[in-house]
Symmetry: C2
DNA sequence: CGCGGCACTTCACTTGGTAAAGTGGTTCCG
DNA sequence: CGGAACCACTTTACCAAGTGAAGTGCCGCG
C-alpha cells in the first residue's frame, strides 16, 4: 500500500477507517449484539460488509464472537478491551461533528444507554 | 449512502475516513506546505488523490489554500481552526496504535532503516 | 408443510484509489 | 537560445472495496 506500517496512526487508520467499523464499535458499546440486530441498527449496511467487518474486527481482537449453542444457534458479538480503546476516537468525532458540522447534537442514535 | 446524516459521528467519519485525509492533516499540522512537499512526505499518495483530498478538505473548511502569486506561482496549504480540531483524533489513534498495535512508538514517519 | 428468522454467501454493479503519463507554466544551466 | 527540470496539477486506464438483491442451509412454529 504505501503508508508506513510502523506508524501507529497509519496502522490505526487502516483499521478504523474501513467503512462502518466505527459504527459497529459504537453499536457494540451499547452492549453485546447479534448479527441481525447489528444489521438493523446500522441501517444500510449490506450483510456482506457487516460479515467482513465483523471478521476483520474479530481478527484484530477488537470484537469477540461468541457462538451460543442453543437451538437455534445464536452468534453474539461484543467489544474487547482493545475495542473499547477505540471509544475515545468516537467521542472526539462526536465532539467535532457537533461543533463544526451542522449535526443535531442529540441525534446520536437511539438510546442513551443507562 | 445510508448512514444518518444527522449523526455527528457518521458525518465526521465520512470526512476523516477518506484515505490519506488524516495523514495530510497531520502533515499540515507540522506547518503550511506545498503540493509537492506533501506528495513527498506522504510516500505513495497519487497526485490525483492528493489533489482530490486537498480540494475536499478545502471545501470542508479544514485546509486553506493560498495562491502566492510569486513567480513561479506557488500554492500553499495550511490547517484552519476546524482542521486543528481533528488533531485530538490523530492523537487518540497514535495512542491506540502504540498501546495495542505493534508499532514502533517513535517511528512516526521515515523508517529508520539503518 | 410451508413460512419466517438467523447468519451468512454469491453475484453483478458502482465507486474510490492507484500508477503512469501528460499539461502548461516557470526558472536554471551551458 | 535550447533543453532539462520543477511545480501544480489533470487525464487515462485499471483494480479493489463496498452495495443491493438474491440465495443458502438450518432451525422452530402454527
Amino acid at each position: 500500500m504505501a503508508v508506513d506500517p510502523e506508524c501507529p496512526v497509519c496502522r490505526t487508520a487502516e483499521i478504523v477507517c474501513a467503512k462502518w467499523t466505527l459504527l459497529v464499535v459504537r453499536e457494540l458499546d451499547e452492549g453485546r449484539s447479534r448479527f441481525c440486530e447489528l444489521e438493523r441498527s446500522l441501517t444500510g449496511i449490506s450483510p456482506r460488509t457487516l460479515s467482513l467487518r465483523l471478521r476483520e474486527l474479530e481478527q484484530e481482537g477488537i470484537v469477540e464472537r461468541q457462538q451460543l449453542d442453543e437451538l437455534p444457534p445464536r452468534t453474539e458479538y461484543a467489544l474487547t478491551d482493545k475495542g473499547r480503546a477505540l471509544l475515545p476516537m468516537i467521542e472526539d468525532m462526536r465532539c467535532f461533528g457537533e461543533r463544526w458540522l451542522d449535526c443535531e447534537a442529540d441525534a446520536v442514535f437511539s438510546s442513551p444507554s443507562a
